[in-house]
Symmetry: D2
């Protein structure tokens, strides 16, 4: 059965690429392209799934409107904080059967890297995250890196592993980077790069490195389509495409 | 309950390190240290598990003797080929309840790398393996690299993924490396290194790299102890410590 | 003073990109675009420098014609062997003042990597080269990797450093890769990649890695323009853009 | 001619390794082992060169005493700031012919990495530095990483290259790391590692990575001996072993 898909932010770079990918997929039907000012509520009964690649200040309102309209949502827009996600969770509890996926990254290599990092993290003494992006990015660190760090921290907490060792006493200019739930995150900004992440995990005598390099936006589409196909089977709010990937 | 452990090849480098690690573990009891000429059959009823770090030309006979003695075997000695493993499988079928683990590598980072590579392999267009060891090693590629390549090939076959693309027409000196079940393996020999492996997985626009660096023999001990503790719960023949690690 | 430049193979992918780059450079004047069938000899007196991005079976004849025409040549076409280069050297000896640069790679990162590798090589016990390209490439290893290996071998020979240690006795499927003047070269073919090279240099206790990743053809243009500007000051035959880069 | 060498901090880990290396070198003669409380002034006329592996709060006084004694100094102790170096420079100006080398790192791979980074830096749009050390280190970032960043900044300034692009507007927890003369430095602390550094250099379409991994203290000795042999030919104060390495 064909899935009817609407794209929000259809005129943007990611939105346009998504429209092309949906049109090329035989099991998906592109039924609407919306941009700023268009009425999301009108999608009720017209679309099964909506993909949101809009802007940080528009995306939350879109998702609430989609929940009210009974349309599953796949959200690739960045800038979500915990409070916004909590508000969507509360709303979703009152619209049973509707699925929302908020995903900071749709590249399969990045999604697998996050998942592998979380699985491995409790077995290692130390874990840190380094992300690299182009220098036009306005926020640091990336949403993917924060999500990776939190997944690592959660897995270690669940396994009862204690805090990592760190004897640093003097670090006058902040070289040790950002602390997210006890996991250090470092952000590099380098002209010509797209999106890259390395996770370093060590024990005495060994180093495991998981690295993902994304050179091109086209690498996101297999993950977006996977999300569109599966979001209907995951009612409620999911964060991160890794929750849809079966390891 | 304490597990009674014997070490075969106790005077060798890996055997000696294993003896130390077992003596330091409160739940394990080192009951015998055997070397060339000692009687393996005498372990019957004396040891629950035997760890074999002997030599390629002795290890198969040791495992057959352990099966006859009803002692579980953890085998770290390299040099096992498919025929030798098949002979042990046939023998093990006649000694129900006895477990044998033949593991080319006990470093957790290496074991996880192999497992992650197999999980990810069907989702990528191309996968190749590069291993790096010290130049005193007499065989190429390493047993770990062959095991990694075969795990990748098996996972792709199970998922129905076709052969990888390769347009190479001229390669006069063999730069494309070794083919193991359709997966290319490359071996580097570099003074000062211990044991290192990289797995490269790509799709259009993205590269996932899984890398493991082992600097020191001490990194094997957590894996050896994990194997000693679990081999009794895995009757029959297992190949690769990854089969004991729960992802 | 403006340099008058002709492009051979102007309709090809690299040729077209070169034409654009030359037109955008204020100190260069694009005076001719030639393709198969056009007369190279006619460039005499019309062009100062010609850039050749044609085909392996056409490039040598082009260079001989350019030497006869007294036009400096910057050659990016691959497929040159030692005999072809020797024939050009002999010809160039009879056309004093004309410069020919045959360069397997114009990416600055790749050129620097080759040069750094050669400088460092005599100080390390072991050195090997790994290159990665897309799987549509028909030859292995890449010209850049061969050039890198030969530069390493020459630097070690000049410094009186002996052969590298390698105890390999069994390598049934050729995992040790290709031998170029005693330096091992390994070639990977991975969908989605462009052109990548790693050089590993080791001593007891340390590993130096020089890695270059080229994601996009645009990265070659700064090197092509540098070559166009300098080839006139390097009469005779030069191989590799690194011979023009001042460290 | 044999060089007479004294070691200050001879009972420490690095000092002891240095004593062994000097005793093993046929052209060097170990004439004194000093520790806290011993009289440095007494080396006058007895030693040609002194190697200082003492403590941050002792090393500057040692160097002043060595200058007064007319003994060349090779200083591996960390913790030197610009003011301390300036005081030594002033003192050295009054003791002509005496050489002082203050080196944050003696591993040849690290020294070459710093030098290569400085040479390449003006040719790239963006450059950042990532260092990784064991988590028992009390200062961040490492002296080597600061030295690397400053070498990069100096080379770019000398070449008239402008500031790097960085559009970061929000970075609430400091993921962008430390700024040294406009070059970002990131410090990771990972159990089991020794000393590692990566320099990332990018242009549109290309990434050059220079990486050094030091697994073992023994890797410093070739650099220490090189310094001992050459410090007498470099009167005045030199900072960084790279100033002694001829590229």
């Amino acid at each position: 059965m064909t899935i009817r898909v609407a794209v929000l932010g259809a005129a943007g770079r990611m939105g346009a690429t998504t429209c092309e990918a949906i049109e090329a997929a035989p099991d998906l039907d592109l039924v609407a392209r919306l941009d700023a000012g268009d009425d999301v509520a009108a999608l009720a009964g017209q679309a099964d799934v909506a993909v949101d690649f809009t802007l940080p200040d528009a995306t939350e309102a879109n998702v609430h409107a989609l929940l009210d309209a009974g349309v599953h949502a796949v959200v690739g827009t960045t800038g979500w904080d915990d409070h916004a996600i909590d508000r969507v969770r509360e709303h979703a509890a009152r619209t049973p059967g509707v699925g929302v996926l908020i995903a900071p990254n749709f590249a399969l290599s990045a999604v697998l890297a996050m998942r592998f990092a979380a699985v491995a993290a409790p077995l290692f003494a130390s874990v840190e995250v380094v992300e690299m992006h182009h220098p036009h990015k306005v926020d640091a660190p990336s949403g993917t890196a924060i999500h990776t760090a939190r997944g690592i921290a959660q897995a270690r907490a669940d396994a009862g592993v204690g805090a990592m060792k760190d004897a640093t006493q003097t670090d006058p200019r902040g070289a040790r980077g950002a602390d997210y739930d006890g996991v250090r995150v470092h952000a590099l900004r380098l002209e010509g790069l797209v999106a890259h992440e390395q996770i370093f995990l060590t024990n005495p005598g060994e180093l495991l490195t998981i690295r993902t390099d994304t050179f091109d936006r086209s690498s996101y589409m297999p993950g977006v389509l996977l999300a569109v196909r599966q979001v209907g089977s995951h009612p409620g709010v999911s964060v991160g495409l890794d929750s849809f990937v079966d390891l």
